[in-house]
């Protein structure tokens, strides 16, 4: 089974075919074809996976070189693929979840005028993502890295009739370019110091790196990762990226592309092992991102934005794991997160689909009655992300926190406390979302009758997934989505429930993932002994339960005593925010608002400021370009005089 190249080639073939024949295939032909290509790719991955399993433990790496791409002097780069446990793990969930999301999209995008184009991009994305993880050298990874960025950008702006979407796409592009710059510099640094960019060659050479160089390389790659994986300070694009179609959010902005940064650092664990304090930076940035994003998630009313911030927060967990050398936990969480977050996104897509493309959760409520399958599967996703055993999120999150507890990272106990706080917040905001969406009263029926005469949707309207313009009316009756959409939900719910089995902490033989990944990772840190882990798990479960109960108390109180608080609370969504702010006992609503403000004003401002500054400089220089012959002559004369003045200083030297 050496046809590794088939894995990315199949979606690529799908892309090319659809570019040419997409219109002919039409709706839903193009979508089914695209889904088949990804499905076949998944089967191919399974084949390679089976082959790897049949090999002895230490030899589980197939490297396949197609041809030499660049060869000049001692420097050689080939177009080659490396199928080893790490990349095949990635491929399995990229193609697996990718195929499900393709199937889902057939239903979701039905009737869209650009139906076939959507699948063109989606297939190209899958091909690029597979190239990213399968490439056997940094340059190929970079190629995939750019490719997924481009597709992400194209898909965010997919409904470009809305200028907001186009600008969200641009923001994604800007922040990612900043990150890419780090990637480029780091690649060059690797090449200059080690003389190769091939992963298998880097591995034995990495221990020879000077500590300073390794730290610089690691930090630069991490800069690249913060862009792609939406970490502080470059995370701002991800919430905005929700302007794209929901399947895109699920595939690209939750399950696959955003984990590329985690993959990259895991792949470079030999360098990270030498990188000293860069690991501390990774861990701290990850932890802080997790905290900030979790706080922000609480203040959101758009169903997808909650999930977007939640994704940022969970990615923060993964970086926390990478920074504390718990690579297995990072990959583990990546897998479980891919399944439950894809599930949640697709579930939210199903809700949005049912609610005439309304995304404001304040207009939802009691949807469990209308969307039974979506509801049931969403529950699984909710409990999984909240960290309730035995669902998958619990196991992976637990492993990360245990790793942090035992790590030698600077301030690891503080990190652990932050991690626990994030766990609590996660349980809280997910419960809030579930209650607002699936429980309570059918609020859209009251949308127009607002006590204070406010139009509830006024401030959130711009976030609406508005490729068609139905509006949510009070007499709207939600319907469950078609089978092509619910089937992936069910499958993903199954995965989200049982993915924890991959790496159970009860004894060595059950740690499948750890053994599987072992040959590719360098410097994996030890977990604490069993009994400590057990205690930590108990604490984590306790925290999750507190979060859920807290949210329940806040959002169900109005249910328990409707006479007292029904009017103001139902009418004003922000009373709820106030209530939880009081409940939390912290700095209150303003703190969460501040976080949201910080995101919007400061970080956004900085990004826009850099772009604006460049343009401003350009506009100023434009003034020099008068169009007059003599001005240009003067410019040249000044240049000539400057050069002559320079050489005068060299005279006699």
């Amino acid at each position: 089974m050496t046809a590794v190249w088939l894995i990315p080639a199949l979606p690529l073939l799908g892309f090319v075919t659809l570019v040419v024949l997409g219109r002919k295939f039409g709706d839903p032909g193009a979508g089914i074809f695209a889904a088949c290509m990804v499905g076949l790719s998944f089967l191919g991955t399974l084949g390679v996976f089976a082959h790897l399993l049949s090999l002895p433990h230490e030899e589980r790496a197939i490297s396949q070189t197609l041809f030499t791409w660049i060869s000049s002097g001692s420097f050689k780069v080939s177009i080659g693929f490396l199928a080893d446990p790490l990349s095949i793990t990635m491929c399995l969930f990229i193609t697996g979840i990718g195929a499900l999301i393709h199937i889902y999209s057939v239903g979701y995008m039905k009737g869209d005028p650009k139906f076939s184009k959507f699948f063109v991009y989606l297939n190209l994305f899958v091909a690029s993502m597979l190239l990213l993880v399968l490439g056997d050298n940094l340059l190929l990874t970079f190629l995939g890295w750019e490719g997924v960025g481009a597709c992400s950008y194209l898909l965010i702006s997919f409904w470009f009739t809305d200028p907001k979407n186009a600008s969200a796409g641009k923001k994604a592009f800007v922040t990612n370019r900043v990150g890419d710059f780090g990637f480029m510099l780091a690649t060059f640094l690797v090449w200059v110091t080690l003389g190769t960019v091939n992963y298998e060659q880097i591995r034995p050479l990495a221990p020879g790196l000077a500590a300073g160089t390794a730290t610089a390389i690691a930090l630069l790659f991490f800069l690249g990762a913060t862009g792609k994986s939406a970490q502080l300070p470059l995370f701002v694009w991800l919430p905005d990226a929700m302007a794209g179609p929901t399947p895109v959010s699920a595939l690209i902005h939750a399950a696959t592309m955003v984990t590329a940064g985690v993959y990259l650092l895991t792949r470079l664990s030999p360098i990270m092992a030498e990188a000293g304090w860069a690991n501390d930076v990774v861990a701290w940035v990850g932890a802080l991102t997790a905290l900030v994003a979790a706080c922000a998630a609480i203040a959101q009313n758009d169903i997808k934005k909650v999930l977007a911030y939640s994704t940022v927060s969970q990615l923060g967990y993964m970086f926390l794991a990478v920074g504390t050398q718990s690579y297995v936990a990072a990959v583990f969480h990546m897998i479980t997160h891919a399944s439950f977050k894809a599930l949640l996104f697709l579930g939210s897509g199903s809700v949005i689909h049912a609610m005439a493309h309304e995304q404001d959760m304040r207009k939802y409520g009691n949807l469990r009655k209308y969307l039974p399958i979506t509801y049931a599967t969403f529950m699984v996703g909710w409990l999984a992300i909240a960290g309730i055993p035995p669902l998958s999120g619990f196991w992976s999150k637990d492993e990360i926190l245990a790793g942090v507890f035992n790590a030698k990272t600077f301030g690891n106990l503080a990190l652990w406390v932050i991690g626990m706080a994030v766990a609590l917040l996660t349980a809280f905001y997910m419960t809030r979302q579930v209650i607002m969406t699936f429980f309570g009263e059918e609020k859209w029926r009251h949308a127009e009758v607002d006590a204070h005469g406010h139009e509830l949707h006024a401030d959130e309207e711009d976030a609406v997934d508005d490729h068609d313009h139905h509006h949510l009316t009070p007499d709207h009756t939600p319907h469950e989505s078609p089978i092509s959409m619910t089937l992936p939900l069910v499958v993903l719910a199954g995965a989200a429930a049982v993915a924890g089995l991959l790496n159970l902490p009860f004894g060595d033989p059950l740690k499948f993932l750890e053994h599987w990944l072992e040959p590719t990772i360098v410097g994996e840190h030890e977990l604490p002994p069993g009994w400590v882990q057990a205690l930590l798990s108990l604490a984590a479960v306790a925290v999750a339960v507190i979060g859920i109960l807290g949210a329940r108390a806040v959002y169900f109180q109005k249910k328990v005593d409707p006479a007292k608080i029904e009017k103001p609370v139902f009418a004003h969504a922000w009373y709820i925010d106030e209530t939880y702010a009081k409940f939390m006992g912290g700095p209150g609503e303003t703190a969460f608002e501040d976080v949201a403000q910080f995101d919007q004003k400061i970080v956004d401002g900085a990004v826009n400021g850099i772009a604006g500054g460049t343009v401003g400089l350009g506009n100023r220089l434009k003034g020099l370009q008068t169009g007059l012959v003599r001005t240009y002559g003067l410019g040249m004369a000044i240049g000539a005089v400057a050069l002559l003045a320079y050489v005068v200083t060299r005279i006699g030297g």
Binding site: A166, F188, L621
Partner: protein
């Protein structure tokens, strides 16, 4: 040394001097092709079909290209040659450049074919000038003597001055011609003065002689020499449009007929960089590199930054490409600055890739300019992705290539350049180059956004028609851009072998 040239010229009155014509065949084919074309057309008047001049030009360029391949093998076998009493040097460096120029003539002629028909312009003069310009460029590429280099430069430049003013119905074309001409003459005077000073300091205009003279003697009064270097640099910097000698470029590129802008961006830059490398890296490299490298460094950094930043704020696509060409000049200057064999081959690779990318880009711009060559605003590209998906896709690839996206020619050319900078210890310069590439990516993005993500063009304009000849040109450019990106090995090898050498004249 030039005395020998004179003697040869004089001798030619009585009998032919010992010139190996086969070795300068590319230049001769191009120049003769131009002159003969003019003759044939004026003799036969209107009896020839419309496509005749274009086919003739392309045949001449392809024939020249064939001789380049033959000479390439010959030089490999017999070593580099010094011809015409040392005035011309034949090595793989010059052959590579000549080949690149021939490629741009082929594509330029194809673009012109479609353009002239659309604009109802006639006349073989366009093609004649194209061939003569290329002949001048090839002369420059093989020049082993500063005077020969100057003549080559002038033949090239004068032909292009006329070409840019050739669309006489359009005032902007005339303006472009005038601006190019006045500034070009101004810059030529500087170059020539520089040559005179170097001649005064070293006693020769022959590059090989200058090189050996400088190696054998230490000039104590080096003011003359340094002044000469600075002034020559002014001349070259003007021709490659390096900041601060760049201001003509946006206006001229914008005003000139689009195929001419394409040729200007590709061929003039190629020839001027070839001359620059011959003079600065080869002749002055070993002895005076510490003097000229800081100046080239300043030009490179300024060009990289100003080119990228200014391109960002343009709304006219032709103008934007002009500024981006300034940025590209900055990249090649980085390669020149390294002053090593690695830098030279990086520059060669860059020039060939850039020829494909920029010819393709301007080809699309020429087509979208529609009748009248006036629709060059960004807004004219709105919705191109739907109206002309193929064209839009091609343009996207050219722009991505210029931005340096992997698997296109642009990535590797930038890669090689940055590598040469880092290899010669200028890590900071490499970082600046990368930064410029990052900034520049935005501007290409703007066009792509306009093509795919913005609505239909507001007012109804003439439909975009793609003439057959132009689509062939764009096809060639596309193939070149992608092949150099995906299978770069053959060209990389050729560029690595294309080291220049100054062969001393045989006495």
């Amino acid at each position: 040394m030039t005395a020998a040239v004179l003697q040869n010229v004089l001798a030619s009155v009585g009998g032919l001097p010992s010139i190996e014509f086969s070795s300068v065949a590319p230049s001769i084919i191009l120049a003769l092709g131009g002159v003969l074309l003019l003759t044939v057309v004026s003799v036969t008047k209107d009896k020839l079909p419309v496509w005749f001049p274009a086919v003739w030009t392309i045949s001449a360029a392809v024939a020249a290209l064939c001789t380049v391949f033959r000479l390439w093998i010959r030089v490999g076998k017999w070593g580099n040659l010094s011809l015409i009493s040392g005035a011309v040097g034949l090595d793989r460096f010059s052959l590579f450049v000549i080949g690149t120029l021939c490629v741009s003539v082929v594509m330029g002629a194809l673009l012109l074919e479609g353009y002239l028909r659309r604009e109802d312009l006639e006349g073989p003069e366009w093609y004649v000038l194209l061939l003569l310009a290329a002949a001048g460029g090839t002369t420059m590429a093989a020049a082993n003597d500063l005077i020969v280099l100057f003549i080559g430069l002038e033949i090239l430049s004068i032909a292009v001055y006329i070409l840019s003013a050739m669309h006489r119905r359009r005032m902007s074309s005339l303006e472009s011609g005038l601006k190019y001409f006045i500034h070009g003459a101004f810059a030529s005077a500087f170059l020539l003065y520089g040559i005179a000073m170097v001649y005064g300091a070293t006693g020769s205009t022959n590059l090989a002689r200058i090189s050996t003279f400088l190696a054998d003697n230490v000039i104590t009064q080096n003011g003359l020499m340094l002044g000469g270097i600075a002034l020559m640099l002014v001349g070259f910097a003007f021709k490659v449009a390096a900041v601060p000698f760049h201001q003509w470029a946006p206006d001229v590129y914008q005003g000139a007929p689009t195929p001419v802008s394409a040729f200007m961006a590709a061929a003039v830059k190629t020839a001027a960089f070839a001359g620059m490398i011959r003079v600065f890296v080869l002749a002055l490299g070993p002895t005076y590199r510490d003097e000229w490298r800081p100046m080239v460094l300043a030009l490179a950094v300024l060009s990289l930054l100003v080119g990228s930043v200014m391109a960002l704020v343009q709304t006219n696509v032709k103008r934007m490409l002009a500024y981006s060409s300034i940025g590209h000049a900055g990249f090649i200057l980085v390669a020149v600055h390294s002053s090593t064999a690695m830098g030279t081959s990086a520059a060669l690779f860059y020039l060939l890739s850039y020829t494909f990318m920029v010819m393709g880009s301007f080809g699309v711009v020429a087509v979208v300019g529609r009748k009248g060559d006036g629709h060059h605003q960004l807004s004219d590209y709105r919705g191109l992705g739907r109206i002309r998906p193929g064209l839009a896709l091609a343009f996207t690839i050219f722009l991505l290539a210029q931005a340096g996206v992997p698997l296109t020619a642009g990535f590797l050319s930038k890669f090689y350049v940055i590598r040469s900078a880092i290899d010669s210890g200028d890590t900071a310069l490499g970082v600046v180059a990368m930064l410029a590439a990052v900034i520049a990516a935005f501007l290409y993005l703007r066009v792509i956004v306009a093509m795919y993500f913005e609505g239909e063009p507001g007012d109804e304009v003439a439909p975009v028609k793609v003439p057959a000849a132009v689509s062939v040109a764009i096809g060639i450019a596309l193939a070149g851009t992608l092949l150099l990106g995906i299978v770069p090995d053959p060209v990389t090898h050729a560029a690595n072998e294309a080291t220049a050498e100054l062969v001393a004249p045989r006495r």
